[in-house]
Symmetry: C2
Subunit: 349 residues, 2 copies
């Protein structure tokens, strides 16, 4: 039915072994023979059987990329950068690898199941992006799985995710705490004393770290936080809209709203505008991540730029073994404060 190695071998009048070697290019083959084989491959339109090859060689050319939400550019940008380094077609010579982007939707079970699926495929490497879920049993299960993967020779890289000690995974973490702190300090520096905070979903490391940074800044300046000033929500615009309305209802005297990320900040801006408030004259707004659209908001968003593409590329290179892992298996990637139009001095109270 389908063309096999043997068919090619027969046509080129060589043994299957020789065809395999020509295709893999990892063994000396006379130029004339190689040519004959290549010609036969071409004429028969032969395509290697991946599973068979993977089975025999005990290796695979699959690389997994786990993301929380593929429709969110935050992950899209990282995935794109990772994939760019993975090679895939067009990459530097050597193995053409297939990048498998897996969408967990933020669900713990799916995260785990995808890891199993990847393990089943004997993936060459796995990159986990985005914050981790802070549930002890789940974390233990994840760590165990990751350890199993690394033990089986799969390189595991965490990109924008906290370190997982003793699992053999390499971590490239984002300094969410530092970024959050810097951002809030900027607002405090402008004179703000009453700041609302729209946090991400509970039980996520990213959420917690950014919030911790915010609180550290408040504490450092002796500002006592009102519990009403923090609302939790999802990482999307809608959530930011609703949370802002809630925040302003709870305390209309807030002069600034800090959002968990840029999408949430955009929602916050919309809510404020719809409430007849001007940005930043009445209320300042700040985001996080500096996604491409943030500069286009009106006014453009003050935020913390995370070098998503750079970090992704680096993670991809490490996953491919083309770059050395950072010392100690962990590196922290800093964000950069981007001060733009959405933050200003508070209205005189």
């Amino acid at each position: 039915m389908t063309v096999t190695l043997a068919d090619v071998a027969a046509r080129a009048q060589v043994s299957p072994a020789t065809v395999s070697r020509v295709l893999n290019g990892n063994y000396p083959v006379a130029a004339s023979t190689r040519e004959r084989v290549l010609k036969a491959v071409d004429e028969l339109d032969y395509v290697l059987n991946g599973p068979a090859s993977a089975l025999a060689a005990a290796t695979s050319d699959l690389v997994g990329i786990l993301v929380n939400d593929i429709a969110d550019p935050f992950f899209g940008i990282m995935a794109s950068a990772i994939q760019g380094e993975i090679g895939g077609p067009g990459g530097r010579a050597g193995g053409e690898r297939l990048a498998v982007v897996c969408n967990t939707g933020g669900s713990p079970e799916r995260e785990l199941t995808y890891l199993t699926l990847l393990q089943r495929q004997r993936a060459a490497a796995v990159v986990l992006t985005g914050g981790a879920i802070e549930d002890a049993p789940h974390k233990a299960a994840m760590d165990a799985k990751v350890r199993k993967l690394t033990e089986a020779g799969t390189r595991v890289v965490l990109c924008g995710r906290p370190q997982a000690p003793d699992t053999g995974a390499i971590a490239l973490t984002f300094d969410n705490r530092g970024g959050g702190q810097e951002l809030t300090e900027h607002l405090i520096g402008l004179g703000h004393r009453r700041l609302g905070y729209i946090a991400g979903p509970q039980e996520r490391t990213t959420t917690r770290h950014r919030l911790e940074g915010h609180r550290a800044a408040l504490a450092a300046h002796g500002i006592e936080e009102d519990p009403r000033w923090t609302v939790h929500g999802r990482y999307d615009r809608r959530s930011g809209y609703e949370a802002t309305l809630e925040l302003m209802r709870r305390d209309p005297s807030l002069t600034a709203v800090v959002a968990a990320n840029d999408s949430v900040a955009l929602g916050a801006c919309a809510a404020l505008r719809d409430s007849g408030l001007r940005i930043p004259e009445d209320v300042s707004v700040a985001g996080f991540d500096d996604l491409p659209f943030s500069i286009d908001a009106v006014p453009s968003l003050t935020t913390v730029r995370l070098p998503l593409a750079e970090a992704g590329a680096r993670a991809g290179r490490i996953a491919m073994g083309r770059e050395e892992a950072p010392h100690g298996g962990i590196a922290s990637v800093r964000g950069e404060l981007m001060v733009r139009g959405s933050s200003g001095v508070p209205r005189s109270s």
Copy 2:
């Protein structure tokens, strides 16, 4: 080294065949035996060897999704919807499939190479998203490849991409022409007579169809188009910014700018603002796609909503054989005009 089926069989005191049958659940196995096997699987932490299984069964649980740019929400949203239906973990019982999102970056070669890679993996199905490249040789090569895939039993679905006759692929096309026409007619209806158009990259079906719709609307209203009113660019914000500057330089009397998509439109808005022009009082702007951020632009963007998630979900279902293919193997998906704040009556000339 790693645990194999045989190890599990030994531990459960059954034959490998029985273990395989328990795992696949496609053959009667006594409850007591099944339990024993499952227990052994659990104790040994056994994970099936995917390649071996795929080889023996001559089937794979990989599903490929080709996108032009994974960092662009246009594709992210579709990919997410497709993946949601593919099942992956969490999907309805039956095969847990691994969705492979492949980023072609709009490059013809990569598109082809990815298809080969998927063919090599004996993918169960492939979904191609986004416009096609209008280069005759490349189109022929793609069609040949697709035909080969469908002949080998891989289901191929085109989502938001023109039909490929005689390839066996199912097509869910977007009515870009109709949407483009409707959009421009809306502007003409408001009184605009001098409209700039920022088209996407040349040689893409999406670009051509949207532009054709625009021109059809102009023609229908007896408006003669000035060649200076059309500029080609990429599908990103930056390109929209630059193209708008160019457009306004060529003809400052334009009262409206129609963009190839929402990102481009956002760039256009930024360029106009930076030129001191008000939207829509001085110049109206329109986009295409209605991505989530479009409603947040200020003013919010008039655009054509494409049901990306719905179309993706449907494509996914068809790919999985869970929904019947449309009659004739092709269905056209219409867009919906969303009139918002960025379009208004032209300034009195």
